[in-house]
Amino acid sequence: MNKELEHSFVEQLQKHQNIVHKVCRLYTNNADAHNDLFQEITIQLWRAYPKFRGDSKFSTWMYRVGLNTAITLYRKSKRRINTQEFDTVEFKIKAEEYDDTEEQQLKLLYQAVHQLNDIEKALVFLYLEDKDYREISATLGISEVNARVKMNRVKKKLKTILNP
């Protein structure tokens, strides 16, 4: 029974792992931290899995547990400190290839998003994942109106970071 459960869980997680990777992408700065957070989210998902009833989609359920882990449960590990940061590595290569304005803009955008606080990142994440305000409000535990207000503020904040 337990083996069966494990099997079905791993199968689903494997299929939807990109959601977890994307959460890690927003909340961490380097590969070690990324893997660390991925590991912790996996543990939390697995622990909560017996209670997952399938009345919501597996992916929807993953958003909630994944974000909760990143925002609340995860304790940053010390390993993270001395490793090189993602963005610099990734974008250095690209910048050498060609100096496309959209590419540049994206680089700055990702950097700006990384400067947001945890809650703001969660809003951005759900927005990027095309979630409506009803789902955003249900995931974070705030009202729909407040989710909308906060989202507008985040957009403004991003603009300010980009054009100081």
């Binding site: 791993v10 792992q17 996996t42 974000l67 909760n68 304790r75 990027l128 980009l162």
Partner: protein
């Protein structure tokens, strides 16, 4: 075009490729140890329960002198009542702690999850406050008990001059104060470090609701 829409286009275009884990990568992950804040909090609360229990039980086993004194003090209904009361309270705390841990669910919304963790931390805080309170009432109570039951001690106190009494009071107050400040710093340190981020995020969510 909105900045976020540009980002969204890139986000969903699959340009951010990640290392894809296979089934055999994921299986071992399920059985690794979690380093979540709830787990740490759980260990701390167990340590605190054990610490305060040991603090009240150990002297009984280590010192026969203390044991004798304690046994005679139980003849006093006030002491007996207090001891029973404190054990009942410990049981209640264990129950409350257990219940609040059970209520922490990763599938709740973010705000409720934070609230249930903060509530658990509050239970621990009350438990510690209760223990400190018990220590503070038991110091004057045992002095009073000593004064009534121990003729030598009684005689000493009676012979004290006013100045000596003042020094004694001062000494007790200073020791109690230092003890309190140290404990307070200790708690600020553990919970401050552990819950700093959680508190910040919770405040951020709460600010929205005003």
């Amino acid at each position: 075009m909105d900045e976020l829409d540009l980002l969204k286009k890139d986000w969903n275009s699959g340009s951010t490729e990640f290392k894809s884990y296979s089934d055999s990568d994921i299986y071992p992950m399920l059985h690794k140890k979690s380093s979540s804040i709830v787990k740490t909090l759980f260990y701390i609360s167990i340590a605190e329960l054990v610490f305060w229990l040991l603090a009240s039980i150990l002297p009984y086993f280590l010192s026969s002198n203390f044991r004798e004194k304690l046994e005679t003090s139980y003849e006093n209904p006030l002491f007996l009542g207090l001891s029973i009361f404190s054990y009942v309270v410990i049981l209640i705390f264990i129950y409350l702690l257990f219940r609040s841990y059970k209520s922490i669910s990763t599938t709740d919304n973010a705000k409720r999850l934070m609230e249930s963790i903060l509530k658990t931390r509050k239970v621990i805080k009350y438990y510690v406050a209760f223990n400190l309170f018990m220590i503070f009432i038991s110091i004057p109570l045992s002095l009073y008990f000593e004064y009534n039951e121990n003729p030598e001690f009684h005689q000493q106190i009676v012979e004290f001059s006013t100045n000596q009494m003042l020094v004694l009071y001062g000494f007790v107050v200073v020791v109690a104060g230092v003890f309190l400040v140290l404990l307070w710093l200790f708690y600020r340190l553990i919970y401050g470090v552990l819950l700093k981020r959680l508190n910040r995020n919770y405040d951020e969510l709460k600010k929205l609701e005003v």
